[in-house]
Symmetry: C2
Subunit: 282 residues, 2 copies
Amino acid sequence: MNLTRAQRAQLALALEVCATPTPGNVDRHREYPDLRFEHFLAGAIGAHDGLELAAEHGPDATGIGRAFEHAVEGMSQQEGGNTQFGALLLLVPLVRSAAKGSLSPDGATAVINTTTSGDAAEFYRAFDHVNVSVKSPPENLEDLDVRLGADAIPAVKERGLTLKAVMKHAVDRDGIAREWINGFERTFEAADRIENKGGTVPDRTAKTFLELLAAEPDPFVAIQHDEATAQETSERAAAALAGEIDPSTLGESFVSEGINPGTTADLIAGGLYVALEGGVSV
Amino acid sequence: MNLTRAQRAQLALALEVCATPTPGNVDRHREYPDLRFEHFLAGAIGAHDGLELAAEHGPDATGIGRAFEHAVEGMSQQEGGNTQFGALLLLVPLVRSAAKGSLSPDGATAVINTTTSGDAAEFYRAFDHVNVSVKSPPENLEDLDVRLGADAIPAVKERGLTLKAVMKHAVDRDGIAREWINGFERTFEAADRIENKGGTVPDRTAKTFLELLAAEPDPFVAIQHDEATAQETSERAAAALAGEIDPSTLGESFVSEGINPGTTADLIAGGLYVALEGGVSV
């Protein structure tokens, strides 16, 4: 016996929030008054059934849009709100590609390429379960605003958009959409970094978090603040990596400033899943 | 939608280890070098399928011995060893009684009363998945030593013992066996205490942990040390409750002394499950 693929994805979610410090994000040692550690644990546990759907394969498998929507519904059975929406949006196609025996940039892209407008509709439905902070779409795409939830489905169907096409429209403003379109490049990079370090998995993960954040501004910080803040956040992460700031102190600062590099956390969760499938264990 | 019963039991396991400080036990802020926080999270996630079996009901439901053995197998898919054996031994009959619509001391006892020698055999098999620290049985019961694992099954069958009867033999030396025989008295007391406090669920849980530990010596501490140490541990917990010692400081002391009130943690996990079924939410 071993953990199932769905359970490995759940463990990835749990390990991401267990790793500390992940400055600005909820972790073992830091939380926000209304978004607490236990909300993430409940989110990871509740996502099980949707992740099980993602782990199906073969011609009769449930679409990944529906698997995602169901995982989000399960995740949202706690009072913290959106805990792992972005992480699940990475995990679902990764789990499916693993189930198909090809957990790789090409394998994940092959899964993305099979998405339909039915998957897109389910994706929109997922936004009805939880409030997600996203950037507004450009004016010509206002009818596709994900914040419309299921109300956008007629426009999605009229335009005949697959879920991949929906993501392509968001690639410039959303870090998860970028992963979908770019072969999950940063997710697999996170996995490599986690696999190749020493120490406990949470310690390796925390280090990798800082490395990813230092390397590229977090799109979620840009949404909640602005591009300049996101850029500065990365520079401060780089300073922590260089030993110029204590990462825990940086965490306190980010929390008090409301700087929450959530996309980087999502990439870490995806990377942890890939690493767990690759043989990393706790 | 809502969490399933199995997921609520998993959440109970996760919340128990999330609550801090629970002096002497692994929690968010304290762990042992080889028994770490992430092992408990992996244990909670891995226990899913066995807990799903426990949540069956009706005449064709899987026996609770088998549900327990399967939950333990899943729990043990991590490198920390025994994380939640005792907690699962409480949770499995509680989940079954909840599934039967009667989560109460009487309902749980009714479940216990239906156990067979087949359940007892599966219980012994569970010990093959993980090393569990237990007291040696008296001389006339040496062939029933749980540490024999499946090798004890012939003796169990020869004596025609149900799982309840096996527990009855251990009632004087094991705190979980005592719960099985005494209508889960302390488990339901833990639930009441968690339900009736204010604050976050982890905070209520940590307080309840100290209360339970102060009220009765922990049998697991007695096994790992002796009765006097267990008694003294309770007195120190009482002092922490009274504000004479900081509970976190007490936690550091217990960890450095290797005092690990594991049975109290198990009771808390059971109590959390009952509280979650009763409407407590995170």
